[in-house]
């Protein structure tokens, strides 16, 4: 038996396709956790990254925050929050957001810093307000990099959301953790395949989003 056989028998079993422990339910749960965490992290990190990048200040402080965020182990944080706060979504969201903030923050800052200063000066010279310079000149130019930061964050969230199952929540991690404890290898491999597939789908989604959202002029020069 190899990994492919395990995956095949997992996906071939009709019992895995419906009910509260069915693939559709677990998939929706996983996507919900991931989206919520990504949204929270983006709401925190994007404005900070945009503003600090726009004014070019606080880069060292951001690097410090990012290092601290990366150094905090997600899994440890999850267990700790679970012990402190008890069962619920909050103990899962905290480590996921801590995980996702550093890549968004640092990449957004770097993206804004790497914008060519001459069009920005030109925009100021045309009498654009700071807000318009930010949203109509800098953000469109920095968008490919900003999206890549969001993509990194999204993928890390999706892979890490599997550990939510360790503290009794749902999501695709359920198959991996349950399978591990039940010594049901089929289930483990099935869950792992699903998470990897979801991550790859996210990759494709971000690729499509950048095709749609990034202006043709910027894409050509990048």
């Amino acid at each position: 038996m190899n990994v492919l056989d395990f995956a095949h028998s997992f996906f071939g079993d009709p019992a895995h396709w419906h009910g509260y422990d069915g693939i559709p339910t677990r998939l929706v749960e996983h996507i919900t956790y991931s989206l919520e965490a990504l949204l929270l992290a983006a709401v925190i990190a994007l404005p900070v990254g945009l503003v600090t990048g726009h004014y070019g200040r606080g880069g060292n402080a951001l690097a410090l925050i990012a290092t601290a965020g990366r150094a905090l182990p997600s899994f440890g944080l999850l267990v700790l929050m679970f012990i402190w706060l008890g069962f619920g979504l909050v103990p899962v969201m905290i480590p996921l957001v801590v995980l996702a903030v550093p890549p968004i923050l640092v990449t957004t800052y770097e993206a804004m810093r790497s914008v060519d200063p001459s069009p920005v000066d030109a925009a100021r010279g045309m009498g654009m307000s700071e807000a318009r310079v930010l949203f109509q000149v800098e953000v469109p130019v920095a968008l490919p990099l900003i999206l890549s930061g969001l993509r990194t964050a999204a993928i890390q969230i999706i892979s890490t959301a599997t550990i939510a199952a360790y503290v009794s929540l749902g999501g695709l991690g359920r198959y991996i953790i349950d399978g591990l404890y039940q010594r049901d290898y089929e289930k483990v491999v099935g869950g792992a395949t699903l998470v990897a597939a979801l991550a790859l789908a996210t990759l494709a989604l971000f690729w499509a989003a950048s095709r749609l959202a990034v202006s043709r002029g910027v894409r050509g020069s990048a």
Binding site: A68, F75, L80, R113, I158, T160, V188
Partner: protein, 217 residues
């Protein structure tokens, strides 16, 4: 704080023993990743057409969740340290390759030509010119790789207590001793921040020509 560093006996290690184990499980894979990444990056820098597919492949590898990676490897290596270290090595490789390629490529053509004119062979040119100039980029990659590797080792707890400091989390949960979880999280974070600071120091020592101030990453 009394007994903060006293661990339950089922962990089979002292506090410092766990720290040592954690460092070994996290750093050996990064070293392995670096050793594999250097030749790959050199190939990518030399033959430009290889780079896009390599970049695509590394992005795909990076999106495989660590837990999934661990459990799939159990079939081949059992619930062992090797099972934890292989995925970490792969992630390090993925983080390091793009940084090193950009670094090696950023060496100006004139510099390479000058080295050649001075009679440097390809190996000497690589070791004495390209690598030092690429050092900041390589170390930037190493910083991300080392810190994330240190924090990922804890997940190894789920596969037969192979998570070094992460193993304290299991005991924290089972014996309801939150202090153990606090200890585990803080120690891992401190190790990560220390490793990061050491790498910054290393960069300053290796690249004395770089400006000291205003370096963001």
């Amino acid at each position: 704080m009394n007994g903060f560093f006293d661990l339950p006996s089922d962990l089979q290690h002292s506090y410092l023993g766990l720290v040592g184990l954690h460092l070994r499980e996290a750093l050996l894979p990064v070293l392995a990743g670096l050793l594999v990444a250097l030749p790959i990056a050199q190939l990518c820098a030399r033959f430009r057409w290889i780079y896009p597919p390599v970049l695509g492949l590394t992005t795909v590898l990076y999106s495989i969740p660590s837990l999934a990676f661990f459990v799939v490897l159990i079939d081949y290596f059992g619930q062992s340290e090797t099972t934890v270290m292989i995925p970490l090595a792969v992630y390090s490789l993925v983080v390091l390759v793009p940084g090193i390629v950009d670094g090696v490529r950023s060496v100006p053509r004139e510099t390479l030509a000058a080295a050649e004119a001075m009679g440097f062979g390809p190996l000497r040119r690589y070791l004495q010119v390209q690598l030092p100039i690429a050092a900041p980029a390589i170390i930037a990659g190493l910083r991300v790789a080392v810190v994330s590797s240190l924090s990922l080792v804890s997940v190894g707890m789920l596969i037969g207590n192979q998570g070094a400091l992460g193993n304290m989390l299991y005991d924290a949960n089972t014996y309801h001793r939150p202090a153990l979880a606090v200890n585990s999280v803080l120690t891992t974070a401190v190790l990560g921040i220390l490793a990061d600071a050491l790498l910054v120091l290393l960069r300053r020592l290796l690249t004395p020509w770089m400006p000291r101030k205003g370096a963001t990453r």
